[in-house]
């Protein structure tokens, strides 16, 4: 017993000493390090988090911000295991990124239970700021609602008024399809049909033939990752885009386009929150980032990690502590956000970060100046229209 007390005492002294000299905050970047989402998030997100702290310069004097990374392999059980252990054993204060909605939803619960902070960049589920919203979570970059809204809205307005959906047959695909259909219908468009394809699918040809037969102007791809790229590839093979139908990707990233090549992907329309070639600050960031990340340019997820970590660090320093996760998140919500990549913005009560979204079209090969020069801007969706209205989300934090 005496031994134990001595141990506790000395441990307390050590931590007090640390607080006196330098306070340590641990940032855990959890994502898919080798799987489908490794390029759009993956090790690049760790790099982005480190850059975010470096770029704050003197502000972090007297503090030590340590970035650790782990692979959740897109499995909720592995992800929640890592997070529990990070918080319980390794004393991690904030979890960042977490693509794959299933993992993000699991992490969301644990972080709330342990009162730490959670900055989502990679995950799409709009439930994170809806029914499953949490006082410990900020959803930074994008969500399914914003994608469906941006893409659906803009396309219908520019004449793409009849839709056929190619939907991955699982919860995520259904949600994406539902949200987009609602937007299409609301704007006066018409959904002429949809087909559910197995997930994961390899061969989309028979579904594409059905889409072709429907004569819809727009084929909406309510799927993600390899499913989307495969469908796009095969649509090109069947000459669908040459015959006047257009594809609309509902969840597409820069790295997907890179994998497809412009020849195949040209003309694809989709929504993103950030693109590296939009202004000088973004280009400067992309140049540094690519140099550190095997030449792979930053996706919107990486940019989101960068910005969210900066805003978090500022709040921690202002509060002089990272221990109470909810307090930090409250501080983040109470203060406007401002950083090099996303400019000025704010975080809503439900945890939703608000900024403009952009509708992009993939360039034709002859329009591109080289690798990673892929997008042209078709429309900007202003911040106040880009995300689901606060009242519609059914978030308990808003009503209660």
């Amino acid at each position: 017993m005496k031994l134990l007390r001595t141990a506790i005492l000395s441990a307390a002294m050590v931590s007090a000493g640390a607080a006196y000299g330098q306070q340590t905050v641990k940032i855990g970047v959890l994502n898919d390090m080798a799987g489908t989402y490794a390029d759009l998030a993956g090790p690049g997100s760790v790099i982005a988090a480190r850059m975010a702290i470096e770029d704050l310069g003197d502000l972090t004097k007297g503090w030590k911000f340590e970035v650790v990374g782990a692979d959740h392999q897109n499995k909720p059980d592995i992800g929640s295991n890592v997070v529990r252990q990070w918080i319980d054993v390794d004393k991690v204060d904030v979890i960042v990124d977490v693509p794959t909605s299933s993992v993000a939803l699991a992490v969301n619960e644990i972080v709330k239970e342990k009162n730490k902070a959670f900055l989502v960049s990679g995950a799409a589920a709009s439930d994170l700021t809806g029914p499953r919203c949490s006082p410990n979570t900020v959803h930074w970059t994008y969500d399914t609602w914003a994608l469906a809204n941006g893409t659906g809205n803009a396309i219908v307005k520019t004449g793409g008024d009849s839709w056929f959906f190619l939907t991955a047959d699982y919860a995520f695909g259904h949600a994406l399809e539902r949200d987009t259909m609602a937007v299409v219908n609301k704007n006066g468009g018409k959904v002429v049909g949809s087909v559910r394809h197995p997930f994961p699918g390899q061969d989309f040809s028979s579904f594409l033939l059905q889409a072709q037969a429907s004569k819809a102007k727009i084929i909406g791809l309510a799927n993600a990752g390899a499913d989307t790229t495969n469908a796009i590839k095969q649509a090109a093979e069947f000459g669908i885009t040459q015959k006047g139908q257009n594809l609309a990707g509902l969840l597409v990233f820069l790295t997907d386009i890179h994998g497809l090549g412009l020849k195949t992907a040209q003309g694809l329309i989709f929504t993103e929150a950030w693109y590296w070639d939009m202004n000088d600050a973004n280009r400067a960031f992309a140049k540094r980032f690519a140099a550190a990340n095997r030449g792979v340019h930053p996706s919107m997820v990486h940019a989101g990690v960068y910005s969210s970590v900066q805003h978090y660090v500022k709040s921690v320093i202002a509060l002089k502590s990272a221990t109470d996760g909810k307090a930090v998140i409250d501080h983040m919500k109470a203060n406007k956000t401002k950083d090099a990549l996303f400019g000025e913005g704010e975080i809503r009560k439900d945890g939703r970060k608000i900024h403009p979204m952009y509708l992009f079209e993939v360039k034709k090969p002859e329009e591109s100046k080289g690798p990673w020069d892929y997008y042209k801007l078709r429309a900007t969706i202003p911040a106040n229209e880009a995300f689901r209205p606060l009242a519609d989300g059914k978030c308990p934090l808003v009503s209660g």
């Binding site: 080798a34 047959d169 559910r196 197995p198 390899q202 028979s206 093979e237 000459g239 994998g259």
Partner: protein, 291 residues
């Protein structure tokens, strides 16, 4: 649901294309099983390697698709021969299940290495310029490349069948399967024959991989799920006969194609359901010898 005849023909045709891959892969499995009594779980990984080698050849050696059709199966088949010599040959005296376990382990290693090196978002591989374009058949559009896949895999499948069932070499092979000791007594090098057979089966998988590269993304996990479907195909057909593997492969592709049209939700599971029905009614498989 009203039946739209042109669309139905379109789906049948597409089913035939998928069937080509099932047929090529189950043929390779059957050839290997016939000779080595091993279920080659690494078959999916070797299929994936075929696609990757095609990609490498284009990137690093400037060899196009047509070269890849020949060179990639040779390279991957060579790797197969190394695997057989270094690992598999020690297992022939043991329970067959050990062969399954070993090749499963190999599949994990191969897939892990490729994922580690190339991530899993997939690498692009273009359709050869001679085969781009779409043909309007009236009832459906058929990309030239897919037509080529069907024709070429039919040729390969029946070529293999002919070699094994109708030639002298094939006769040795079949005899060695039945009674290796006796065949050895005739002065034939049975171990070498086994090695080459494994290499050949693996090369078939790699060939399927090269053909798949322009259609599906070249991706480290492309073989992981298809191999399980092919297992079901093999159970349905019975591994006793080469022709059985070919016919079941194409047939099930067509059935799957029709399911995608009539009841897309079940297209992932239809082959497994057929497997259950076949097992209940004809346990030895459609073409199998009774166990």
């Amino acid at each position: 649901m009203e039946i739209n005849l042109p669309a139905l023909f379109g789906q049948l045709l597409i089913g035939l294309i998928n069937g080509s891959f099932y047929a090529l892969l189950s043929l390779g499995l059957a050839v290997i099983f016939g000779m080595l009594n091993i279920i080659n779980f690494a078959h999916g990984a070797q299929y994936m390697m075929g696609a990757f080698v095609a990609y490498f050849l284009l990137q690093f050696a400037g060899l196009n698709y047509w070269w890849a059709l020949i060179v990639a199966p040779v390279i991957v088949g060579g790797v197969g021969i190394l695997i057989e010599r270094s690992l598999l040959q020690w297992l022939y005296k043991l329970d067959h299940l050990y062969g399954l376990l070993l090749t499963f382990g190999l599949a994990l290693i191969i897939q892990g290495l490729f994922r580690h090196q190339y991530g899993s978002s997939g690498l692009p591989y273009q359709i050869p310029p001679q085969l781009t374009g779409v043909r309007d058949l009236g009832f459906t559009f058929l990309p030239n490349y897919r037509a080529w896949v069907v024709v070429f895999s039919l040729v390969v499948c029946f070529g293999t069948w002919y070699m094994i069932e109708k030639t002298r070499l094939g006769a040795y092979l079949r005899a060695a399967t039945e009674n290796p000791t006796l065949v050895r007594a005739f002065g034939i090098n049975v171990p070498r024959m086994i090695t080459l057979t494994y290499g050949f089966g693996v090369a078939l998988a790699a060939l399927a991989g090269v053909m798949a590269a322009p259609i599906y993304a070249v991706n480290p996990t492309m073989g992981a799920d298809i191999i399980i479907v092919v297992f079901a195909v093999v159970v349905i057909g019975g591994m006793g006969s080469i022709m059985g593997a070919i016919v079941t492969g194409f047939g099930l592709g067509v059935v799957e194609g029709l399911t995608k049209y009539f009841f897309p939700e079940a297209s992932n599971t239809v082959i497994f359901v057929i497997m259950v029905i076949v097992l209940v009614t004809r346990p030895a498989g459609l073409f199998g010898r009774a166990a």
